[in-house]
């Protein structure tokens, strides 16, 4: 089985080579037979990669220590779920997952691309095949998960304890679906550049892929943030860690791409923007892969390091980013301009959005790469932390968030900013009220905190205003409003939900950062502590034994107002003997949208324990907002508009009907 998987991977590489060359050649020469090779090659390539992945996962699940990567990252005592997730909890396996998802998207294009023009489909599959071939070669030559050990050791070295968590089952697959999903947008852009023209329907084909990738990336980042929050025991939800930035940059660029693609499909404008953003987004995904996989960073994401890998990925980066940008420089001038628009219009607002988002991306890029450059040039190790990003990223984001509610309400081509402002009066009043209530009634609220809350409410109410205005609220009869509301395109709901999610996340961040409280103290069994109106009693430390760890579990009772026990929080210090590592399992109690977060420190000789306690108001909204954004993307995906662009089957193929506006 293991060797079958290995062979399937090699075969997938050979097939990817064919998938790159033959359809490309076919598209150049107009040979339909050669173009037709792309789809079956992509499907078979996906099947082979999937077989290979299943073989590796089986080896992990069965603790086959004759496979080196299993031996290095697994242990026979691990629970089955962590044995399986361990498949991608290491460099080799996660690269295989990466390629699996890449070929999966290629197969999706092959299956659902029947309505694409033949040359475009062939070129897209060829570019996708090229990415697949380089990464398969990378895996086979530098990070082969199927390297064998003979004789096989009898016991493995265990998976990194931090990764022995359900988060590993969800976060990397989601994140990779996002990262790699943008490869399709990239392939579409490069295919368009190879052909030297963009079809009118190009944006309609690209937008669903962008939405899918963006949806998964949003989920992946939110999940990763929550995982870091509860697993690392520091109580932070975002660390501006380079590995986090690596996933955040494609998200920012992808968000710009998403908006740009809207203009392109509706108004045939911003073609260059869209192409460039598609290339940049996937380039940033590749850069993220390079940062995380090459080992140039040493961060909380404890993964393998190896210089040969770094150089190889750097070559891949140069090839794809350099190649696509060169192609862009050569061909961009041949693209025809689209619809005209005035600066103050929906198009203009979206250009502004793109500018802000790309600048923000650049800021994060500088903050992430600068320490590496300094280290490379002067051997000094510096870190660019939260202060840099607060000073640069924050001021960029705030104005963008302020103008977000205006965007969806502006008219196409020429907008009336005052009319829009009038419609947003209610939202503005609600935001102002939120500022006043916060400033007057919440103790210790600074002006900045109050304004932050106001901004969040501005976004939330703005999203609702968008829906209300579009269904004619206040101008037509209530019955008509309901009918129009139900008849709104799904993409309108998608927009509103995504912007609502943004507002919720903002509210969560402001709430946690500005109103959170913290206590560090040493507690004996029976001691009570009070934090922001919640009383906790320490019940004591109890030893417990897990399948492959032992732990000291600290039990805390959450006391109600009358002193009765209203709940229990458990935090533990776990010790994994195989890796000789300890982890802290934080204890979390969710109260409304807020959380009480508790983390055990070291035990002192007198039996007391250091306890760190946080009150995090509205913290769950940070990730809840992410989920709402995902729902928005899913809603947009259901929009009928995305299914237009295929010639309907009623018409005879090949016939060009007369051009008469309906």
């Amino acid at each position: 089985m293991v060797e079958t998987g290995h062979f399937a991977l090699v075969l997938a590489f050979a097939l990817a080579l064919v998938q790159t060359v033959v359809p490309l050649f076919g598209a150049r020469t107009g040979n339909h037979k050669m173009m037709a090779v792309g789809a079956p090659a992509a499907l078979t390539g996906f099947a082979l990669t999937a077989l290979s992945f299943v073989a590796l996962a089986t080896a992990y699940a069965g603790s086959d220590f004759s496979v080196e990567s299993v031996w290095e990252n697994s242990h026979s005592l691990q629970p089955l779920i962590y044995k399986i997730t361990g498949t991608w909890g290491n460099h080799e396996g996660s690269m295989l997952l990466w390629v699996l998802i890449l070929t999966f998207f290629g197969a999706l294009v092959a299956v659902f691309g029947g309505n694409l023009p033949a040359t475009l489909r062939a070129n897209v599959l060829a570019v996708q095949g090229a990415i697949g071939a380089t990464f398969l070669l990378f895996i086979l030559t530098t990070s082969n998960p199927f390297v064998r050990l003979n004789p096989a050791p009898i016991e493995g070295r265990d998976l990194n304890p931090i990764l022995q968590d359900l988060g590993l089952a969800i976060h990397p697959p989601l994140l990779y679906l996002g990262y790699v999903g943008f490869s399709i947008c990239f392939s579409f852009s490069v295919a368009a550049l190879i052909e030297g023209r963009i079809d009118a329907s190009w944006a309609r084909w690209v937008r669903p892929w962008t939405l899918v990738a963006w949806m998964f990336l949003t989920g992946g980042i939110a999940m990763g943030s929550y995982w870091a929050y509860y697993e690392l025991g520091w109580g932070g939800f975002w660390f501006w860690d380079p590995v986090e930035n690596a996933s955040f940059m494609p998200w920012l660029a992808g968000t710009a791409l998403l908006h740009s693609a809207i203009v392109m499909e509706k108004r045939s404008a911003l073609k260059i923007w869209t192409l460039l953003l598609a290339i940049l987004t996937f380039s940033l995904s590749l850069l993220g892969t390079f940062l995380v996989r090459s080992g140039v960073l040493t961060s909380v994401h404890a993964f393998a390091t190896d210089p040969t890998r770094g150089v190889f990925i750097l070559c891949i980066l140069t090839l794809f980013i350099g190649g696509s940008l060169a192609l862009f420089a050569l061909r961009a001038s041949r693209l025809t301009a689209g619809g005209l628009f005035h600066p103050i219009s929906r198009e203009g607002a979206l250009v502004l959005n793109n500018l802000f988002l790309t600048t923000a991306t650049a800021t994060v890029l500088v903050g992430t790469l600068y320490p590496l450059v300094v280290e490379a040039l002067s051997a000094d190790k510096i870190s660019v932390g939260a202060p840099f990003f607060n000073l640069t990223f924050g001021p960029l984001m705030v104005p963008l968030l302020v103008v977000v509610p205006f965007g969806p309400l502006l008219a196409w081509k020429r907008g009336d900013i005052f009319a829009v402002a009038q419609r947003l009066m209610a939202a503005f009043a609600a935001a102002l009220l939120a500022v006043l209530v916060t400033a007057l009634f919440i103790d210790g609220a600074s002006v900045l905190a109050a304004l932050g809350v106001g901004l969040a409410f501005w976004l939330i109410c703005g999203a609702f205003t968008d829906l209300a205005v579009k269904s004619g609220f206040g101008t037509v009869a209530p019955a008509t409003v309901l009918r129009r509301f139900a008849g709104l395109p799904r993409s309108v709901f998608g927009t509103a939900l995504a912007h609502l999610g943004l507002g919720l996340t903002t509210l969560g961040i402001v709430g946690t950062l500005c109103f959170g409280t913290e206590k560090i103290l040493s507690m004996h069994a029976g001691d009570t502590v009070e934090l922001s109106g919640h009383t906790l009693r320490f019940e004591g430390l109890y030893p417990a034994q897990g399948p492959n760890y032992s732990e000291d579990r600290g039990r805390f009772a959450l006391l109600g107002a009358d002193g009765s026990i209203a709940g229990e929080i458990t935090s533990a210090k776990r010790s994994y003997p195989v890796r000789q590592m300890t982890t802290t399992e934080s204890g979390i109690s969710t109260i409304g949208f807020s959380q009480l977060y508790l983390s055990l420190g070291d035990e002192a000789s007198d039996g007391s324990v250091v306890v760190r306690l946080w009150w995090k108001p509205l913290v769950t909204l940070i990730w809840g907002g992410g989920l709402v954004m995902m729902a928005g993307a899913a809603m947009s995906l259901l929009d009928r508009r995305l299914r237009v662009g295929a010639p309907s089957s009623r018409k005879p193929a090949g016939a060009v009907p007369s051009a008469s506006p309906p």
Binding site: F13, V22, K33, A36, L43, G339
Partner: protein, 376 residues
Amino acid sequence: MLFWVIAAILTLGASLAVLLPLAGETKNTSAAGDHDLEVYRDQLAELDRDVARGLIRPMEAEEARAEIARRILRLSNAGPAGTTATQRSTRLVATAAVLVVPLVSWGLYGQLGSPDLPSQPLSERLAKNPADSSVDELVARAEAHLAANPSDGRGWDVLAPVYLRMQRYADAVTAYRNAIRLDGDSAARQAGLGEAIANAAGGIVSADAQAAFEAALKLDPANPKASFYLAMGLAQEGRTAEATAAWQKMLAALPQGSPWRGAVEQALAESAARNVASEAPAKGPSADDIDAASSMSPQDRQAMISTMVAGLDEKLRQNPRDEEGWMQLVRSYAVLGKTDQARDALNRGIAVFGADSDQARKFTAFAASLGVTATE
């Protein structure tokens, strides 16, 4: 064999995926213009909806309509594009593509793969015939059995000495404790526990280890392991005289063929050397060495001791100005019964420091106490 069959089938499938479209009929595909027209029509329809919803003003909508109409006109003007490749070049590419799949895959796999190595899931390895298993596999098997039946005292009892030999001392301690808890005390188990505790602590006989050895002696006063280690504990505390006495008593009581004789003699030799100087720069056998010696066959043990003495001899040839080293070497040869070599060592030691030196006098006196004289 099965693997090669699967590999061949997979290769065939992959080759067919390339071959079939190339050999098949050319399908009629729609021209790009059709797709565009659909989009433009939808854009027009959507424009009307946007006007109805007030998202665009009528005047701008008219402009937009004109823009779209112009695009549709441009579309119908565009002619068909693309050239047709010659039959020959098609056939050439097709042949190359179909050949690349098997050639690249089998070539690369030949470089990277280990086709003869079967999968070895742990459960299968543990289930096979014990006679074919390695020691590691047997231990893992026993561990799996004990994980399922943690109250099997006999299992722990069997596993404990194996752990000890594999130098997994912490596991040995647990195993011995479990065996004692489940199957009751015995001198061998208590002595083994003591040995495991001592070795886990790097050879130091701690209070825990001492308690275990004493328990063993209570059950079997003649247990050599317990007596030996207890004496070692005394020596480690600096009570050398008591330790020597205990070992000498052991030596007298031990039967001639006992494997412990060598270990005791070795320990006596070392402690005698320590007696002269509390700290020896050129060290004799360590506690680990002695422990290893005690569990060896008499021949192996003899060989090991000879190797250690030879090592000391060699060290002294390189660093001759080591007073304690020379005395230890003389002592070792004397204990081994190699009187000639002992005398030789004494003479070499005297030569290093000079016949009139204090050291030389000390050596002579020391050697005399062992029955060795500088000259015949």
